[in-house]
């Protein structure tokens, strides 16, 4: 039963990937085109950049404090998770809630292994910056011609 569920999940993910591609074609930022295929998903948007000897991952995590976020790395597998509690003030009536509280978990398979001991993570203005230096073995090497 569970394997079947994960199959469905995978199918949805493939569809949402396809949808993302479509969304990129029509440049309407942050707005989903037409029908929503994916399950209502609250995981933050991320960017991945590649430099010569490191990767950089940025994630939109507004409202999260340093303590609310967890980062796990193993080889080329990276997992970012976190939970944000509702910051609703006490004694106020609620008119509108769009900022969702709750937890998320997102995992990535990086294109190459990273050196987990040298990873740097900073949180600034609601964006998480992760600098992931590549493992020595996969770093680009200069070859001198003899």
């Amino acid at each position: 039963m569970f394997t079947r569920l994960s199959d469905i999940d995978r199918l949805f993910r493939t569809m949402s990937l396809f949808q993302k591609r479509l969304d990129n074609l029509y440049s309407d930022y942050g707005k989903s085109s037409g029908y929503k295929w994916e399950f209502e998903q609250t995981s933050p948007r991320t960017n991945l950049y590649e430099n010569g000897d490191s990767f950089e991952i940025r994630a939109e995590v507004s409202g999260f404090a340093k303590e609310d976020l967890n980062i796990k790395i193993q080889g080329n597998y990276l997992e970012i998770s976190g939970s944000r509690e509702s910051d609703a003030p006490e004694g106020y009536r609620t008119h509108k809630i769009e900022r969702e509280a709750g937890s998320f978990s997102r995992s990535f398979t990086l294109p190459a292994d990273v050196d987990s001991s040298k990873v740097e993570a900073t949180l600034k203005d609601g964006i998480l910056y992760l600098i992931l230096p590549k493992h020595e073995a996969v770093k680009p090497k200069k070859i001198s011609i003899s």
């Binding site: 991320t46 507004s62 969702e100 609601g126």
Partner: protein, 128 residues
């Protein structure tokens, strides 16, 4: 020779042309109590100086521009530079002078205090 000059000129013109920013609607929470209305808006990556809050004629407009400095080749991008903009209509009873805004962890918090005159008041009944 003339042709190359033309090309150079065109490039110069292009410098003035600003790249159109994507516009996004920030997610907001709105709360209210007897003293004030509270507005929380998610604006990840926006710094204090790039936020503007305007109240004019009963309309509150909030806008924030995110400028990211990128390095290296973008392999997979789901968000870019963006202008968060949204407007709300606010009741006249807001004391504009005392509006306060704070920014923390990419969340803008706006305190919109109600003016003294508009606060609910208990009327005391006098017994004769």
């Amino acid at each position: 020779m003339e042709k190359t000059q033309e090309i150079a000129k065109k490039e110069e013109k292009n410098i003035e042309k600003t790249h159109g920013l994507y516009e996004a609607i920030p997610a907001v929470d709105i709360y209210e109590n007897e003293d004030e209305i509270l507005l929380y808006a998610d604006m990840p990556g926006v710094v204090k100086n790039d936020i503007s809050v305007n109240i004019d004629n009963g309309t509150l407009s909030v806008s924030g521009i995110r400028k990211l400095v990128t390095k290296g080749a973008a392999t997979d991008t789901e968000f870019t530079d963006v202008e968060y903009a949204r407007s709300f209509s606010v009741p006249q009873a807001i004391d504009i002078e005392r509006v306060e805004a704070e920014l923390k962890n990419g969340v803008l918090r706006l305190h919109l205090p109600k003016s003294e005159a508009s606060k609910p008041r208990q009327v005391e009944i006098k017994t004769s």
